[in-house]
């Protein structure tokens, strides 16, 4: 092994990573730049863009909308995803594989197509755009992720553990809350975090579905960029990166911790 070939491949791989992550690093770096103009060399280290961010009402409103939207998406998606996974894994549902495919399909369909389709459908039903519609759209395309994660976990929980609980006197409902749910909780949390993160940084669907006057963080950034490139956006980008990278990592860490404690 070794040799020139491998070194070339290694070098190429590093270049690819730089190409992917350098812009992100630049955004994070510039968000701490003291100067008004986002350019190198940096003139000093400062939190002023974060402070301005915190004082910008439009951004704060967008941030609150995104948080509420992400949270509701996560709760609804996780609830539906858990119920769907239970039905598909634990019960004989007629057409189970078709249902499973349909539930996963939003991952495969281009988001623009999904977004337009939902909009046309609601137009056809003469329903106006609303926050509820936006939420429904986010649930539709976060649901597959929840289902995939939860289903995989549920398959690994042996049926006879639940049967044992029932034989000891627990009703099916008690068995679910005492045995099944605690055992699949890591997957449920991971699914919820996925849903939150995906919803939080979605822009395509959101642009189509959001009612007038409502902005999420990504659409707000998009709107701001149309006027000028403000260093505030760099700061906002940094916050977004921390949230969308940090949360799933946190989720994975919690899940791993719980799995270790809980055995299996």
């Amino acid at each position: 092994m070794g040799g020139l070939g491998w070194n070339l491949i290694r070098g190429w791989a590093i270049l690819v990573y730089i190409f992917m992550f350098l812009p992100v690093a630049v955004v994070v770096l510039l968000s701490f730049n003291a100067s008004q103009f986002g350019s190198f060399p940096m003139t000093g280290f400062s939190f002023r863009w974060f402070v301005e961010l915190a004082n910008n009402d439009a951004i704060l409103r967008a941030f609150r909308t995104s948080m509420i939207l992400g949270f509701l998406t996560a709760v609804i998606s996780t609830t539906l995803g858990v119920l769907a996974s239970l039905a598909l894994v634990r019960y004989r549902v007629p057409g189970a594989s078709l249902i499973s495919t349909l539930l996963i399909a939003p991952i495969l369909v281009p988001e623009v197509v999904l977004a337009v389709a939902l909009l046309l459908f609601l137009n056809f039903l003469s329903i106006n755009k609303s926050f509820a519609l936006l939420l429904a759209g986010h649930v539709i395309f976060t649901l597959p992720f929840v289902i995939l994660v939860v289903q995989a976990r549920l398959v690994s929980i042996k049926r006879d553990i639940e049967e044992a609980a029932m034989s000891l006197g627990a009703s099916p409902m008690q068995t679910f809350f005492q045995i099944t749910l605690p055992l699949m909780l890591p997957a449920v949390l991971a699914g919820g975090l996925f849903a939150f993160t995906i919803s939080f940084d979605d822009i395509t669907g959101t642009l189509f579905w959001k009612p007038g006057g409502v902005e999420t963080v990504p659409t707000q950034i998009f709107a701001m960029l149309r006027n000028s490139i403000s260093p505030e956006i760099n700061a906002l980008g940094t916050v977004m990166i921390v949230m969308t990278v940090g949360l799933p990592l946190l989720g994975v860490a919690i899940a791993r911790q719980m799995t270790r404690k809980g055995g299996i």
Binding site: K158, D160, I161, E163, A164, A165, M166, S167, L168, G169, A170, S171, P172, Q174, T175, Q178, I179, P182, L183, K261, G262, G263, I264
Partner: protein
């Protein structure tokens, strides 16, 4: 503890009949084994008693009460599964206490009953550990403790020893029987392992292809198999084609080509009529004899040793007399016979059983 009755039970899955019409009475306190190869319907029967499956036809009674419509969590049964099925997120003590929380047991009594159950399975000190910190054998003991702490009407054991390795399995066999004896609970045990069935049961129900082949004590099913299937499933048997030529009060005469007439004791050839018959000769009852051996009382023939399968304490021979190949499992006195040698083989007629040719 209670008796269990299956009355004309049938279980069909779609077009497939897993259990053909079966009736079974298990008296209070008895240890009954459902024995058979995989797919014979033994587990299906157990799951119907447990309430995990609904019978297609027929009635299940526990303690004289119809159970068909009673869901599993209201049947008060203890079930031990093949793969332990302990709750991995609960400690051993929480596992064992699980059934008690649904039974209005005062808090103060829970701990003492859990401890008593752990004492009974001889693992008094593992209460604070998690299941995965225990060995397979220990986990199965905890599963047993969890099942009996609720004082079940019936204890159902679904191949509880199959996941353990060989030595442990024999220890657990003795242990399980001791515990069952001590608490006297009616027990239904499902296994495909004939030695487990013979060692542990008060009664064995031999099943094949969804039907009961024979019900009897271990001695009865072993010594007087009711069918060729039972004879073959419990140990190794030679099944010889012959003819029944007559019977009197003591014995039934069976003509077998290489041996002549074999007088089989009448109680081991019940209902046998004249005509084609099968003679069942257990492999360990067929002896290979040295030149000097005493052959009085034996029916003998000359045979050639074809294969010698040396197993330490015993040796398994395949011998040939003309068209017929016979299997013999003998203790080793001095040293085994060698392949190719000609030996005298013999057996006592009272060790045989006979069946009607069907």
């Amino acid at each position: 503890m209670s008796s269990v009755h299956l009355n004309n039970i049938v279980k069909r899955f779609g077009g497939f009949t897993a259990v053909h019409q079966t009736s079974l009475a298990i008296p209070e306190g008895e240890f009954v084994t459902l024995l058979g190869p995989s797919g014979c319907g033994k587990t299906t029967n157990l799951r119907m008693i447990a309430g995990l499956l609904d019978p297609t036809e027929g009635e299940i009674l526990i303690g004289g009460k119809r159970m068909n419509e009673v869901p599993i969590h209201k049947r008060n049964l203890g079930i031990v599964f093949q793969n332990y099925a302990l709750f991995p997120h609960k400690t051993v003590a929480q596992n064992v206490a699980f059934g008690l929380r649904y039974r209005d047991v005062p808090k103060a009594d829970v701990a003492s009953r859990v401890q008593a159950a752990l004492d009974l399975v001889q693992l008094p000190e593992v209460g604070e550990r998690y299941p995965k910190e225990l060995s397979g054998g220990q986990q199965q003991r905890i599963a047993l403790a969890r099942a009996i702490v609720i004082q079940p009407e019936v204890l159902l054991l679904d191949e509880p020893l199959s996941a353990l390795d060989a030595n442990l399995r024999e220890d657990m066999r003795v242990e399980l029987k001791r515990i069952q004896h001590q608490i006297g609970v009616t027990t239904v045990f499902v296994t495909h392992d004939q030695s487990e069935a013979l060692a542990m049961s008060d009664k064995i129900v031999v099943m094949s292809a969804g039907r009961v082949e024979q019900i009897g004590t271990p001695e009865e099913v072993y010594n007087t198999p009711a069918s060729a299937f039972v004879a073959n499933f419990l140990g190794a048997s030679n099944i010889l084609q012959g003819r029944c030529t007559g019977r009197d009060a003591q014995a039934v005469q069976i003509e077998i080509a290489p041996f002549g007439t074999v007088p089989v004791p009448a109680d081991k050839a019940a209902d046998l009529r004249e005509g084609p018959a099968k003679l069942i000769l257990r492999a360990e009852k067929l002896l290979l004899l040295g030149a000097a051996a005493d052959t009085s009382g034996l029916i003998t023939a000359q045979a050639t040793v074809e294969t010698v399968d040396y197993q330490g304490q015993t040796v398994r021979y395949f011998v040939r007399l003309g068209e017929t190949q016979l299997q013999a499992i003998n203790m080793i006195d001095t040293r085994p016979f060698v392949e190719g040698s000609t030996v005298t083989i013999g057996f006592r007629p009272q060790d045989c059983a006979a069946l009607q040719e069907t």
